[in-house]
Amino acid sequence: MIHICEITEQHSITNNIYRMRLKAPMIASSAKPGQFIHIKVRTGIDPLLRRPFSIHRIDPGNEEIILLYRKAGRGTSILSQMSPGDSLDLMGPLGQGFDLQTSFDHAIIVAGGMGSAPVFFLIDELLKAKKKITLLWGVRAGEEIFNENEIRKQGIELKVATEDASKGHCGFVTDLLSEYLSKNITKNTYSGFVCGPECMIHEVQKIVESVDFRWQASLEARMACGVGVCLGCAVLIRERGFQMVCKDGPVFDLREVQFNG
């Protein structure tokens, strides 16, 4: 479906990370964590293609969806200049979200950079389902960590890694994961979730090779159509061959993803 949605709020969290609220009743009522929307940031031919963004959170009461995005290039910088009252043309919800039907008690979530965007929607759903949650969150600088108090108040175990040593562990979120796994995990009532840049997800794949519970990863790829038509966003999945990140994903079973190199 194509929706013309009004922006109801836009705030910058850091220098170049923004949070945007959009009035989108149909999406707010039907979306699942891990799904995304595909935005035409402005009419016309520049930029030409839509831009994919995870649904960061939904606010069903207000019929709103929330995005969290980093100003990365032309499209996102146009987005960042928009104001409440402006409208956006978007498709969605698209893709397959996380599978939360499998039986587990404790969710361990690894989020890197803007990978935190879909994680909040995921957490909201996991809390509804009364799961225990551990969130390992890696960012470049501490200022990119937000909602820390809210998270802890909800009873979520939060560990932070920053590359610039401004908060928590100094280094990568994958360090936190290795440490966590070496200490805590004994039985397979866990389920793992990972969202972030490809190199991080690849690293996580290696780290969890020997643990025996399921891991789901949310992948990114350049997209044109967003609905499985252009075959542009392929990812190699063991036994299934090329799958489309937009349609078959963006969430895949981590162990089945074949990264290049």
Binding site: M1, I2, K40, I45, D46, P47, L48, L49, R50, M91, A221, R222, M223, A224, C225, G226, V227, G228, V229, C230, L231, G232, C233, A234, V235, G241, F242, N260
Partner: protein
Amino acid sequence: MVDLSVKIGSLRLKNPVLTASGTFGYGRDYDEYLDIAQLGGIVTKTITLNPREGNPMPRIAETPAGMLNSIGLSNVGADRYLSDKLPALKNVDTVVIANVAGDTIEEYGEIVSRIQDQSRIDGIEINVSCPNVKQGGLAFGTNPDITAEVVRISRLETEKPLIVKLTPNVTDITEIALAAQESGADAVSCMNTLVGMGIDISTRKPLLHHILGGLSGPSIKPVALAKAYQIVQVLDIPVIGIGGIMTWEDAVEFLLAGVTAVQVGTLSFVDPYGSIAIIEGLRLYCQKNGISKVENLIGGMIQS
């Protein structure tokens, strides 16, 4: 009431707007966004005899007012096309054109012969923009003799309307178009993508894994229009215009240049409903301007 119908050889289209191969899947992928029965026709993704996985990633990139792709003819192959994809179009009241390709001249004949008895296929479009290994990787369609041979061998296999989809990456497209006509094509479609590339300066890697890819979208419209116009001047068979069409105004431009129908490609990615919006725009334009048949627009450019 405006008559939007046009004729491509023996094929009557309810309107002159088709969706281009590779940009509309096998025809049903955009069902959520539009009623495909409203289209003039659908050209399905290029199929080859055997299934193909396609190229490694990245396969697409954005460029100024355009995009690059090197999908690598990823497709389900003839068998699954016939068993799964075509049946899904069974009761749809629109024209279905199957687009085919091969690795060798002979393979073109084989794939045409393999699908040609399907009543659901109203026409066959031959994609000659694939690399011909024997010709050092240049596309079949860059050589008039090879194009002629591909068309001739396909013509032997079918009586269905045969459309040759030309590559623009040639010195003189009229030569290739004439070769296609003389070898028995019922129409030509013009054009496939221009060869292009891009580099991500932050990683220093090419934007596409295969370095070179096909450029499509509004940026190529002036080139597509020029090529279509050039071949319209020399051909007797109809020309289908393709390249950068985003609006009904673009479609009118192509019709005035002399094409009989148009295909829209990249537009569907940006706006899945765009093809229908073009049809609506054409209808309104004709109404407002007292044009009773869209066919009257064809070739209506006034030379100054």
